[in-house]
Symmetry: C2
Subunit: 442 residues, 2 copies
Amino acid sequence: MPENVQVLHARWIIPVEPAGAVLDDHAVVIAGTRITALLPGAKARHEHPDADHVELPQHALIPGLVNAHTHAAMSLFRGLADDVPLERWLEDHVWPAERRFVDREFVREGTRLAAAEFLRGGTTCFNDMYFFPDEAAAAAAAAGIRAVVGMLVIGFPSAWAATPQEYLANGQRVHDAFRDHPLIRTAFAPHSAYAVEESTLTRIAMLAEELDVPIQMHVHETAAEVAESLARHGLRPLARLQRLGLVNERLLAVHMTQLDDGEIELVARAGVSVVHCPESNMKLAAGFCPVAKLATAGANIALGTDGAASNNDLDMLAELRTTALLAKAVAGDPCAAPAADVLRMATLNGAKALRLEHEIGSLEPGKQADVVAVDLGDVRSQPVYTPLAQLVYTGHRDQITDVWVAGRRVVENRRLTSLDEAELVKSAQRWRARIQGGGRSD
Amino acid sequence: MPENVQVLHARWIIPVEPAGAVLDDHAVVIAGTRITALLPGAKARHEHPDADHVELPQHALIPGLVNAHTHAAMSLFRGLADDVPLERWLEDHVWPAERRFVDREFVREGTRLAAAEFLRGGTTCFNDMYFFPDEAAAAAAAAGIRAVVGMLVIGFPSAWAATPQEYLANGQRVHDAFRDHPLIRTAFAPHSAYAVEESTLTRIAMLAEELDVPIQMHVHETAAEVAESLARHGLRPLARLQRLGLVNERLLAVHMTQLDDGEIELVARAGVSVVHCPESNMKLAAGFCPVAKLATAGANIALGTDGAASNNDLDMLAELRTTALLAKAVAGDPCAAPAADVLRMATLNGAKALRLEHEIGSLEPGKQADVVAVDLGDVRSQPVYTPLAQLVYTGHRDQITDVWVAGRRVVENRRLTSLDEAELVKSAQRWRARIQGGGRSD
């Protein structure tokens, strides 16, 4: 049977690679799950007369966005507690709620809810860190979204696992179960250098080589974390991780708000990917990641939303914009983090961090057809001098009309084709009633 | 003839006054242009059987947002130049484009384009600073949006006026022409302490008393501005303004990114309104306004988007969110700028800055019916633990479905009733072709 061929005709195509390129009136040709060509629109019509042609006359096509750090299922805790100190947020709200409510069903429903928000917002791949990654993987697969699920390890027992050994064993079972799934990958996800013991971290470094997977961790999220590490171990967390053999190309170091110049050099040289989560860092007053300095040093910077409990949305387009604005403010330089660079962070750099850069992250022949259509024709986007800057500085997720993942059109005219929104709303409301009824007195 | 009565039934009403209040299943009763009551929904149905009842079953009603600093017509320059240093942005891009293209028609069309974006985004009142304020006022009035238009004074000739005297005279003619218009007010708008000479500023202080209007100015936008003032005058700009008699309750000091503790005390004590424009400040790397310190000192803080050339949108809901996030990050305190305070900045504080707090800024009987309905039922907003925090941290302008200004429903089910969006898009595209063709070579 011949593969289904789709031809997406768009006013602009921003392929991300080559850097800064914008193609006018071109088309993306998709055969099955993969991109086979980028052609001038007329040529694509001529060469593919029998294909399914999709007309996007006032749209920009971009690669699917890669959310390189999130806790998807926490969408059910969105807005559970705001405007409170980090310790109270964790100790009085998030951790008690997690102990009480997080089980298989919670992760399944929370991940489905997050997947709806991801897809509607143009995120086609997310890197998850949470309990029950098998449920997250299954929910993502069913929703038609690409996911890297974390083989979580954290230093306390949960409904998912009791000991570090059990976390690792359960994680590896998830890795094995999904190893041939086209949309699902795994990564090790030790929570942090303070919440996982050293022997386990060493073991993870070894296992990551064996399984050939990345490792994502919270690293240098707050000044307090760094100070505590210095007091307890005489070393900053990054130095500890280096001693344990984790500072290399496999590492996704999430947050990194506390970095001296030597550490910036180190991560750039070692090929560590820094996952910048600006909105979460701002909301929790965690600190400022030195994005401009990292970029100058040549580090690979990817972007994440973090979980919906600390953001409070999973909107990557907003995160792009915040990244561009905040990097300028922090560097004191309006030229820092220009639009093209920020879009690259949210696509190809994220793919690279996840070791998927040969499959996703740009619109190039041979890559998976993860494509997002952004309507720039709305009155609120006018006029359009430069589509790339317009996308970053004026783009809102409501302008995203269509999304493809591996060639499947999962959002069509702003409607999800793989998930039932009304049912998800009802499910979230049931969870709210249960959590608010049982966990808080108001 | 009896006045038209509308009853807006909403899942939640957030009246802003009293502070932090959220009413469940209440209704706003509107007679003609004014709010007459807030009642439980059932009671409102019983008392007003013949009224026009509007059902908003999954919405929050909030007061219309007040954009306390913008240059509306610059929407036609949206995205003209990004990621460039401030001086190049002004000297190579904005000022040449203004000299070449800004005329009556530009201001009319640009303000109409901005008005569409304001209304769709829940802004029902904007405080403008630009050339041809008479055109801005007429465009706003026709669009059904409330505006305070600036009697601009700037130290160079333009198509609007040649000398300070002419700027003042033209401004006062606008004041006289619109003095009885229900939607239009005026304010003096001397550009800044560096771009207007002292004798003119002194005269403006006197005229503002006579006409009983506010004065809006850019103050302490950048460190360079402060340094230059110190070098030229031996005083920081705020100190110069104090010497000239402008530091009082009439002053809207816009930006204020450079403030020492004494200045924070001064503006709080003198009743100056600080207009915080966080996204513009970030994008131009101007500096950080100390919002938490100003709030603690008791200063009146209002919010603005600035113009679309430096933001690049006119989205007040996004500005609220950025304000809440940035204030926390800058203060190093996740409790800074809580949701209720930030919504107040964007409504009642803005009204107070414009001396309109008895007319707008909260949903209270007797006030003008400027009301915004935000749909919190979308899958991307679920679940809703606390509507106020949800609005600030998760609210996107695409969730705004209906907007009333002075009782007139100017947005209905996400469609403008007072402006033709398709026509505005065409107009913006014509201007882009002209400006891009004539002003730049790409």
